[in-house]
Subunit: 329 residues, 2 copies
């Protein structure tokens, strides 16, 4: 019966000019990237907040040296990452975890590898004050810098009177980040019957389901948004937040969306290639030794998950006319 | 006779609704920013070269660490500068001269404070190989990085077959830089009779001519594009290039275009405010002690020279799918 239906589907596809490939069976749960982006009730994604948030995202005044902005490590010219193992921070210090992409982060259940920030609004407050990253001395330091740079009217427009606060700084950045969605990956077009993917990618699509990868890398986001033990390396993961021994080496499951563009891989950036990452994950998480042709098929599939970058007009940042801001450290 | 004409002009302005201010006398030589940008015969500003050059301008692969791009120090979100005294470079080294703005640099006679690069094409080759700045090991290093990142087709489109060379890298960046022009400053609109500037700015406009500032900061560019001794600080200036004692402390005259947005000032970034810069220049170059109200008027005029930033869409840089580039230094 199944083969009769398939023949009919293939025949119809041929007749209507739809690619025959779109008739391939898409494993349970997989689907196109959602088009509706969640937003919290207390921070609607208004255009004023997005525009302000974009400025703040590119704002080096949020770092002690005046050198780093959010975009330094989560570079929107390179898929929301810096392609570094560990990012360069204040005075050339290195962080201890690989900078994850900001793209589609609006869809994640929690932020950071260990999920210590529930929302984008919480995450955005971290790096400016982290002494290894942007190294500002305090929230007050951020506010005085933004005030001096001339941000007050922009905050007041986006949040109302007297609203230049650190909380609202993070809110505006989060609002901007909710626009950083990458639709129309080849896989998404394939799912919608608008385009084809290669035979290797189709085999890979089936294999990730058969092997069990998609029990964690589940659904249209290719992450269950859950926390799972990844017993690899010395990073304590969630345990470093909760202190619980059960949380040892537990990390949030990363999405496969745009994964081909965000090398190197893992929380420690230790896997330089997607092939290596796939091989290691199958071995450590699924006790499976993949053959080279399986790896190649899976990588071919993962490459179909690269979406379209949002078009971003570089903001012009507010600056006081005629005098320097005090950053020389 | 003059006063009769002025009365008539003012009357006409009133009747026709044109601001009376536009009738103020504009000192000899001053004018609106040119709209025609010079380009060398061997590097036409084609759209393919501009698009490629924009990518290269934002390309951190052109630095040893993978962290710095042209845009790090000549940040197009902040008027083509980084607002630092001396920019941060490889491994947190500091340069020895203030990073000048890239805006309108296409109009300068020569590039760098000491003019050691005749063209933008020459200038663009400097920072990637400067050990204090982007610190690449060699031109070959640049080429292999760009090749690995996936630039070959873009060069071939812009320059023809087998054209991924260091020379063409610089040419493309220069072509992009020739689009970084800032027209329609309040002063330009005023000159064209399209808008007004304040009474203080008009006084300042007259004073810079009367005092003699505009003998060097001449013409619509507000630079003679000439080299002049500025006996201030320990920097040898042009002498460090030519070795000639006559060139001691000689620097290219900087333009006043967008000067209000490019603090701090001078080759050594030692003047934090425009007021201080004006005061020092008048004293050192013209042996004139300016009064505070003169300084205020001149600064008011200089602030009318801030033009409109070109709208820049952030490029998406070519990257190999599924593997990291080798930069961890």
């Amino acid at each position: 019966m199944k083969s009769i239906i398939m023949s009919w589907v293939l025949g119809m596809a041929f007749i209507t000019g739809i690619s025959a490939a779109s008739a391939a069976t898409i494993p349970d749960g997989m689907g196109a990237l959602p088009t509706v982006v969640p937003e919290p009730a207390n921070n609607p994604t208004t255009s004023d907040r997005v525009e302000l948030g974009k400025k703040l995202y590119f704002e080096p005044a949020l770092s002690r040296s005046g050198h780093f902005s959010c975009n330094s490590c989560h570079n929107l010219a390179t898929w929301g990452v810096d392609n570094q193992k560990f990012s360069i921070g204040h005075r050339w210090q290195r962080g201890g975890r690989n900078a994850p992409t900001v793209l589609n982060a609006a869809f994640w259940s929690r932020q950071f590898w260990d999920g210590r920030a529930p929302m984008l609004e919480d995450q955005a407050k971290g790096p400016p004050l982290n002494p290894v990253e942007m190294a500002l001395g305090s929230e007050a330091d951020a506010i005085s810098r933004l005030t001096e740079a001339g941000y007050e009217p922009l905050f007041n427009k986006a949040f109302g009177k007297n609203s230049l606060t650190f909380d609202n700084t993070a809110k505006a950045i989060a609002a901007f980040e909710r626009t950083l969605i990458t639709p129309n990956a080849p896989f998404d077009r394939f799912v919608r019957g608008e385009g084809d993917i290669s035979a290797a990618a189709k085999r890979g699509m089936q294999k990730v389901a058969d092997i069990g990868c998609t029990s964690c890398h589940a659904g249209p986001l290719f992450t269950s948004n859950d926390f799972v033990k990844f017993d690899y390396g010395k990073d304590h993961g969630l345990k470093s937040v909760t202190g619980k021994s059960d949380d040892e080496h537990v990390f949030r499951v990363q999405s496969w969306r745009n994964v081909a563009m965000t090398a190197p891989y893992f929380h420690d950036g230790s896997a330089a290639t997607l092939e290596e990452a796939v091989k290691t994950m199958a071995r450590v998480q699924l006790d499976t030794r993949l053959k080279n042709n399986d790896i190649a098929d899976i990588v071919a599939f993962l490459k179909t998950l690269t979406g379209e970058m949002p078009q971003i007009t570089l903001p012009v940042l507010p600056r006081p006319a005629g005098h320097a801001l005090p950053w020389q450290e």
